[in-house]
Structures are given as structure tokens and as C-alpha cells.
């Protein structure tokens, strides 16, 4: 039997390298032998594969995206033609295995392989490198025999449940790279090498920030070589190399410069090398002492596999903020440092002073760098090869594979689905870390969302302001309180209510009485309810007899006895009333409230009696008289499912 394998996938370098890595891993163990790559030469894979000596053939393909129906139709026809071509190639090459890594280039091959599976009996493997798979891989996962994921959360998104976590497959050349010398690349061994990478196309914000801070290194005292891979982007919006060189030209004289590179002497110890594209990037990464890069899945994995210290700058405004949240998870484990991009007036940029400070601190702090690189290496999943080899062998021998269990919903997805999930998470975080304020302030979620709160509160859309208000409460941001108090009357009903709820969540804040005064006369009942509740929790005290407090208390009494007041407001008013009224009045009021039909109000009356008793407003006998006047018969109930209880208990026992 032959041992042929077909590799496919492409569109960007991020799809090609993992496929090659898997091929190397399988070839080393003699599971596969000959290889054919099906892609499209005009894209990057053509350039990369040429250097590996792997034959490449082309089929037609087109992305199935966008809303234009004509376009979709045209692309579907192209895709169909590509499927025909792939069928012919698969039949003539007779592979035992097809490895696809996503990207629309792999679509015709995977579809053709699926159609031919019952006849040719080959196996289909998909490799997913991102946390959130693209549409192609979601569809392809159903047609495959196994999907190797690089993140445990990926199996939440894939349509097929045949997933196996394998980590990110790294090419062998990388892992033995540690032995590359700095001198092989032309540097002195005691040079500190700072490598800046923004992806093959380049990152505009990173490039611009680097241009800004270079000047500050004139007085920096260290042997430093700054290597900057600027990027291949030459679109109308942003021509990476030209724009960066223009920016540098204004501040520096170039020592050397040509169409693709530029060299600047900053001072006697520091030199800057800017390249449009670095071919042997992995060599440079292997010798780097510090890497600045984006937080994409592939980059992170390569950095970790080499155990490098990194400063990550995740790309802002990706769907669900997933690159930022991914990077936060790593930074929490102390595997890297993190800087967030900020957005002012719809322009995204990096705070250059912050970048400069963090950078210089890291360069000078040898222990920090060692710690980061060691943690990164430890965090790297080292069993990728094993998992891929074992499962592929079993697959080819038609033995069953144990797939991963369904992973629970990833945090950033739950945040995206319901904003309140995020608010609840941050609030719980604050409560659990209330004894360690320092640790809480350094938590990257807190840092990230504090920044986002500033943006939200300045937005013009009232839904976004609403989000900002909720975050203010969860994160205990007192600095926004004065603005919120000032703007209170201008906001819509939901926002006014949420401001009061946020104030209730503050720790150690004593202001806000004017909000209570405005709130109790508000025309929206939920605001009145929250105002009274806030007053009781934060401001009420028996000793305080100023005129404002007396006025507020009089108003709550009015609300309690008013016929047309909403029951939710009456519930809160009752709870305050029993804290300052006489015992006679309490008994009379409770008797009156007890006659109401609403069981929730009656339940609150019972709680109020208990509270009055605990605060010595009424004695034991009076409390019992009160309770007797509240009928406890109602139809509001909470069922208790015996079988569900047993099930949950069983799960708890067995899983712990």
C-alpha cells in the first residue's frame, strides 16, 4: 500500500506552516511517504513550498463569503470546477490521507475527498490553528474523520464533535533552533536582540509606535540591535514599508537603505534594522532576547515553542475581542507582557509613552525576561507530536479514537452573548480578590475593561453608555461618579436605573445622596425602586437626622401608602420604613400590607418584620402579632425536581 498524503490549505502563511509541520511529524515516523500539495501558486504557499521541495498543483477555488448573490453564484461555480479538478487529482495520486488546514483554498479538495471517501477509503484530517474556526473549517469538520485543534476551546465552535486537542504543530527546524548563534546572523554575542514582528503584512499601529519611540533610545545605555519586520502590505490604505520609512526619514539619517531595507545608527551601542520582509524569520526569532508581536494563534505558539520572552500587542476590535482575551489568558499565567491598543475618535493607536516605559523596563530586567521565557516554554503543549502520530496511526488502522468531550462555553463567547455575563464575571472577580487590591488592579481583564469603560461612557449611542455604566459598577470606578451624577437627569430610564445599581456596587464610596433625592421623585418606577434600595444600603443610619434624610424618609412613607405605586417600589420602601418608624406604626402598616394580593410584597413584609426585630424596633410579641397578620398562602412557588437533584449530586460526587 502506498503512503501518499495530500496537503492542502492556504490563503495565508498561517495555514501552510502547520500543514508542513504535520507532514514532517508523520514522515519522521514513516506513516506517510510521498506528498502532494494542492493549492494555488499565486498565493504565499507557492513561495514557501518551493523552498521545501514539495510538488504543488493548482485547483480553482474562491471564498464563499459576502452578501452579493451574484458573487456567491460565481464563486460557487468556480468552487464546483475546483471540486472536479480535485477529484481527478485525488484519483490519480491515490492518497491514504488528506490533511487540510483551513482557508478557502482547501474547500474543493476537502469536498472532493469527502465525495470519494466511500470508494477510495482514504482518511481526512483537519487542522484548526485558531481559537475561533473559520466557516471553511466548521463545514469541513463534518466531512472529516478527526479535527486536531490547537486550543481546547475550539471544539465548542466546530460543528463536528470529533475533535482532539493537539496543540499547535511546529516545524522541526524551529524546535532545534535554540542552537543558532547570534554571530551566524551577524550580531555580537553580547548584543541584546529586540525583534518586532507585525505579521507578514505588517501592523500599522505597531509600526507607527516604533517610529515614535526610536528617538528616545538615543540615551539608552545597552548594546541593542532592533530588528523590525515592517510588512508586505502595499494597499492604498496603508503601504507599510513606505509609510514607516517616510516617518523615519524625518528624524534620522539613514546609514544604509534600499528598496526593501533600511539601517539606522541610533547611538554607538544601538542599531536599528528595518526590513520589508524577513525570509528566515524563525532564525531571528531563535536568537531574539525579546519579541514584540501580535497575539495571533500561530505567532504565540511559535514564540512559546522556542521559549521566548514576549511583549504582545493584541489587535483591537476583532470579533468578540478574542485576540485580546486570548492574550489576557496568557499574561495571567505570566507567560508574556501585554499592552492594549486604545481607540480615540475611531482611530486606533498605541500609547507610545507606555510602550517606551514597558519596553525599557523589560530590556533592563534580566530576571523578568528569564521568568517570562521559562513560563512560556512550560506553557507550551509538548505532546503535539505524540497526539498527532498516535491518532493518525489509529485512524489509518481503522481503530476507534477517543474524542475530546465537549468543552464548556469559552469566556469571550459568553461575554459576547450577554453583556451581563461579563459584568457578573468582573464583579465576582472583585469580590474574590477584595483582600488583594494590588493583584486585582494588575489583572489584565480589569485593565482591559477599565480602558473600555472610558470608551463606552464617551459614546453617543445610549446602548454603549449603558454598557459603560454597568462596567463602572462592576469595576468599582469611583472616578466616573461625578460625571454620572451630573448627567443623571439627561439619561433615559434604563441608564438612570443602571447608574443607581452601579452605585450600589461601589465599595467605599460615600457620595450619591443627591441621586437618591432625584431618584425618589423620578417618573420611572425602576429608578424609584433602586433609589430607595441604594438609600437603605448605603446612606441610612438611625443617627442621621439632617433635613435631607428626614425628607427622604417622609417620601418613602408616601410611596408606601400610595395606592398607585408599583409593588416593586413598595417592597423597597417597606424595608426602609421599618428601620425608622415606631412599633405601633409598623404593626399597622404590616397589617395593611398583609392584605395585598401580591405574594412577593407579602414576602417582603415578612422579611421587614424580621429586620425590624433584629434592629430592636419591635419586640418579640409585637413581631409575632405582625407575622400573624400576613397570610402565607400563595401560588408562587419553586418546584424541586427529585431526579434533577439526584443527577446533580451524582455529577458533583463523581467529578470531584
Amino acid at each position: 500500500m502506498n503512503k501518499n498524503v495530500i496537503l492542502t490549505g492556504g490563503g495565508t502563511g498561517g495555514h501552510v506552516y502547520p500543514s508542513l509541520a504535520i507532514y514532517e511529524i508523520l514522515k519522521n515516523k514513516d506513516i506517510v511517504d510521498k506528498c502532494l500539495y494542492i493549492g494555488s501558486k499565486s498565493h504565499i504557499e507557492g513561495k514557501i513550498l518551493a523552498s521545501y521541495g514539495i510538488p504543488i498543483e493548482m485547483v480553482k477555488s474562491a471564498p464563499f463569503a459576502g452578501k452579493n448573490p451574484l458573487n456567491l453564484l460565481k464563486n460557487s461555480i468556480i468552487l464546483l470546477w475546483g471540486v472536479f479538478q480535485s477529484i481527478i487529482k485525488i484519483i490519480s495520486f491515490k492518497p491514504i490521507l488528506i490533511v487540510a488546514s483551513g482557508g478557502y483554498v482547501s474547500a474543493p479538495v476537502v469536498i472532493a475527498a469527502y465525495i470519494l471517501k466511500p470508494f477510495l477509503k482514504h482518511k481526512i484530517i483537519i487542522n484548526e490553528q485558531n481559537v475561533v474556526p473559520g466557516l471553511m473549517n466548521k463545514v469541513a469538520s463534518v466531512m472529516s474523520d478527526v479535527v486536531f485543534t490547537s486550543f481546547r476551546e475550539s471544539n465548542y465552535f466546530l460543528w463536528s464533535k470529533k475533535c482532539k486537542y493537539a496543540g499547535y504543530p511546529v516545524r522541526k527546524k524551529n524546535q532545534n533552533q535554540k542552537s543558532t548563534n547570534k554571530s551566524e546572523l551577524g550580531f555580537n554575542t553580547n548584543d541584546f536582540i529586540l525583534l518586532i514582528v507585525g505579521g507578514s503584512l505588517g501592523a500599522k499601529t505597531i509600526n507607527e509606535a516604533i517610529v515614535k519611540i526610536l528617538k528616545s533610545f538615543v540615551d539608552f545605555n545597552k548594546n541593542l540591535s532592533i530588528i523590525h519586520a515592517i510588512g508586505l502590505n502595499t494597499s492604498n490604505d496603508y503601504n507599510a514599508f513606505d509609510a514607516t520609512v517616510d516617518g523615519l526619514k524625518k528624524q534620522w539619517d539613514f546609514e544604509k537603505s534600499d528598496k526593501n531595507s533600511v539601517e539606522i545608527t541610533i547611538n554607538s551601542q544601538i542599531k536599528y534594522y528595518g526590513y520589508r520582509y524577513i525570509n528566515n524569520l524563525t532564525d531571528y526569532m531563535a536568537v531574539a532576547d525579546l519579541v514584540i508581536s501580535r497575539a495571533g494563534a500561530g505567532t504565540i505558539s511559535e514564540i512559546q515553542s522556542m521559549g521566548k520572552a514576549a511583549l504582545l500587542i493584541p489587535k483591537k476590535n476583532l470579533p468578540g475581542n478574542h485576540q485580546e482575551l486570548n492574550a489576557i489568558e496568557l499574561a495571567d499565567k505570566n507567560c508574556c507582557e501585554l499592552i492594549f491598543e486604545s481607540e480615540i475618535n475611531k482611530i486606533v493607536s498605541i500609547n507610545s509613552e507606555k510602550l517606551e516605559a514597558v519596553l525599557k523596563n523589560m530590556i533592563n530586567n534580566k530576571t523578568l525576561l528569564e521568568e517570562l521565557s521559562q513560563n512560556a516554554l512550560d506553557n507550551f503543549y509538548k505532546h503535539t507530536d505524540e497526539v498527532i502520530i498516535n491518532n493518525t496511526e489509529r485512524l489509518l488502522a481503522n481503530k476507534p479514537i477517543v474524542f475530546d468531550p465537549q468543552s464548556s462555553i469559552p469566556l469571550f463567547v459568553s461575554f459576547q452573548n450577554q453583556f451581563d455575563n461579563l459584568v457578573g464575571y468582573l464583579f465576582k472577580l472583585r469580590n474574590s480578590l477584595q483582600n488583594d487590591i494590588q493583584k486585582y488592579n494588575k489583572n489584565f481583564y480589569v485593565v482591559f475593561y477599565k480602558e473600555k469603560t472610558n470608551e463606552f461612557l464617551k459614546a453617543s449611542d445610549f446602548l454603549k453608555v449603558n454598557k459603560g455604566i454597568k462596567l463602572t459598577g462592576a469595576l468599582n470606578l469611583h472616578e466616573h461618579a461625578p460625571t454620572l451624577i451630573k448627567e443623571f437627569s439627561n439619561y433615559k430610564g434604563f441608564l438612570r436605573r443602571n447608574i443607581l445599581i452601579a452605585f450600589k456596587r461601589f465599595n467605599g464610596y460615600n457620595g450619591g445622596l443627591e441621586l437618591v433625592q432625584k431618584g425618589i421623585y423620578d417618573k420611572y418606577f425602576e429608578v424609584r425602586r433602586e433609589a430607595v434600595s441604594y438609600y437603605r444600603l448605603n446612606h441610612f443610619s438611625k443617627q442621621n437626622n439632617t433635613s435631607e434624610h428626614l425628607h427622604i424618609q417622609k417620601r418613602t412613607k408616601e410611596m408606601l401608602f400610595s395606592y398607585s405605586e408599583f409593588f416593586e417600589v413598595k417592597m423597597e420602601a417597606l424595608l426602609v420604613y421599618v428601620l425608622y418608624a415606631d412599633s405601633d406604626e409598623i404593626i399597622k402598616t404590616v397589617k395593611k400590607i398583609g392584605k395585598t394580593r401580591n405574594p412577593k410584597l407579602r414576602r417582603t413584609a415578612i422579611n421587614a418584620v424580621v429586620m425590624a426585630y433584629k434592629n430592636d424596633m419591635i419586640n418579640k410579641d409585637e413581631a409575632i402579632i405582625c407575622l400573624n397578620q400576613i397570610p402565607y398562602v400563595s401560588s408562587e412557588f419553586e418546584p424541586n425536581f427529585n431526579i434533577k437533584n439526584s443527577y446533580n449530586e451524582a455529577i458533583n460526587i463523581i467529578k470531584n
Binding site: 452573548n417 430610564g493 405574594p599 418546584p639
Partner: protein
Amino acid sequence: MIEYLFEFFSDYSWAANIINLFSYVTFRAGLAFFCALLIMVIWGHKFLYFLYSKGLRDTSGDFISLSAFSKKGTPTAGGISIVLITFVVALLLCRFKHASMYWTLIGFVYFGFVGFVDDIGKVRSKTSLGGLSQKSKTIFLLVFSVVFALWFVSSHNSIFNEVNRTAFSIPFYKKLTQTVHPAIYFLFIIFFIFSVSNSVNITDGQDGLLCGLSLITIGVYVLFAFIIGNMVLSAHYLYPYINGSAELVVFGATLMGAIVGFLWYNAFPAEVFMGDTGSLAIGGAISIIAIFIKQEILFLIVGGLFVFEIFTSLIQEKLGDRIGRRIFYRAPYHHQLTHLGIGEPKATIRLFIIGLLLGAFAIITIKIR
């Protein structure tokens, strides 16, 4: 259709009697009702388990739950059984002489299918925001409504003559109204189907609520269809005789049987939900039957609760988002009842009582004209 089977035995005398029996609409309706009911009840538990094992479980847990307990994990998309069983039994026992039967059955199954796709999407994405978006659901429903409305106002519609086709029949009035311009009636049909389906969909929020209310609605419409489809009765009660509505009685009875069988399992606390599959299908069936017997305006009375629920829902959503505050405590209305402290089963039964009263009132309109 099952009559054709007996025609093979037309030599035997007992076969002739049975065929005679089958010509009565009431007999076929009753038989259909009991068949559907028995099948649903007998195989209900196996079907339930089938849904559970295929992973079609309810996931409405993301939002703050309005009931005190969690309904997560209950098998959903039970409407599949309603649609399938109604389809099979109706196919067997109805006569397909008139176009009304074809359209009703096709519409019913199509709406159920759209709901099914939505349910699968919700289950797969594990939140109640998944599934078809508002826009795509609307487009799918509109596709059928437009085609149906076009056929109805055109001259292919042989059930109605030119005069009656685009006239309305208002309760309490003896005659049909003036003929309305076909374009207006066309738009009206689309609007009617769309709003009825959506209001029925929204009412499906508590255990057994939609089952009971739709039983009442369909029951009243079956009664009207029986009167209108019977030459003697329609003349007596001064309704225009419509040729195809006798078969709608059988279809309606099948659907009622299936719903009662579903209610056997869906009553509080529910072991299965019907999901969008069932509610869209039932909404579609109600609207198409109402259009064929020309009793659309009657829906305001007999389906008054549906109208009220979607009214509260729309107001809370559109007006509330515009001015930034709640209007009702909760919308749709059955959630408001729960929020006020009335327990869920009691609220359901109270809504049944109101529904029965409305249904009785609708039946009274036969007499008071």
C-alpha cells in the same frame, strides 16, 4: 385517501357500508382526532427519548430566568411529532379534491420546517440567540405567504367566485362586505399570516400554554368550517357556502388530536417543548384555515389572547427601546403574570379560562348577527 383502499373491496357489502361511513365528515374528523391522539400518547415517551439522545435540548439559560427554576435540558423541537403525525393522518383520511387541502398541508409542513431549522440553530449555538435571524425567518415565511396570496387573489382560485374572493366576512354582520381591490387583499393575507404565526410563536412560553390556547382557537375554527362547509347548515346560519371547507374540518381535527396528545406530555411541569417547529406550524395552520373560510376578523376575538400577547411584546420592545424604559413589568403577558407572583401553572389555567370565554363568545357570534 384511505377510502381508496376500501374501494378494492367494493364487491363486499361490508365495504360499501364502511365507504358510506367515510363519506361523513364528522366520522372522519373524529377518527382522525383519536388516531392522532393515540399515536402521540403511545409513542410519546420514545419520541421524547429520541430527541434527548440526539441532543435537541432546550438551552434558554443565558437570560435571567423568569421562572424560579431552570428549564435547561428539556427536549425541544417536539413540534416535529405534531407536524409528522398530523401530516400522515391527514394524508390518510382527508379527501384531496379541493385546492384548500393542498395549500393547508403544504403551508403547515413548510412552516414547521422553517421552525425546525431555527430550533436546530438554537441548539447548535447553545443560546437562544442562535438559529435563524429575525430577518431570515421573515423572508422564509414571506416566500410562502406571497406565493399563497398570489394564488388566492388570482383567477386560479376556483373555490371562490370573483365576487366573494376578496371580500371580508365580519362577525355580527349578515353578509359579506364589498369586494376589496385584490392588491389590498393580497397585502392583507401576507400581513395576516405573518402576524398570526408570530403571535402564536410568542405565546409559546409556558408549559402547556400554547397547546391549550391553540386547541380552543382551532376548535372554534373547526366548528365554523363545519358550518360553512355544510350546505344545509351554512344556509341556516347565513354563512356563504365554501366548497372546500369540509376537508378543513378533518385536518383541523387531526391537528387538535396531535396537540392534545402533545399536551399529555407538555403540561406543567413539561417533559418536552414544541419549540419553533410546533408553534410556527400551528400558527401557519390557523392562519391558512382562517383565510379559507374567510373568518380572519374572527381571529381578533377567538385568538384575542394571541393578539394581546404580541401587542404587549411589540410595545415593550419597540416603544420601550425608543424611550429607554419598561412599559409593562415583563413582556409577553404571560411573563408579567409570573412576575406578579402568580405561579406558572395557575397563570396558564387562568389564561385558558380567558381563552375559553373568548372562544365561547366567538361561537355566540354565529347566532347574534
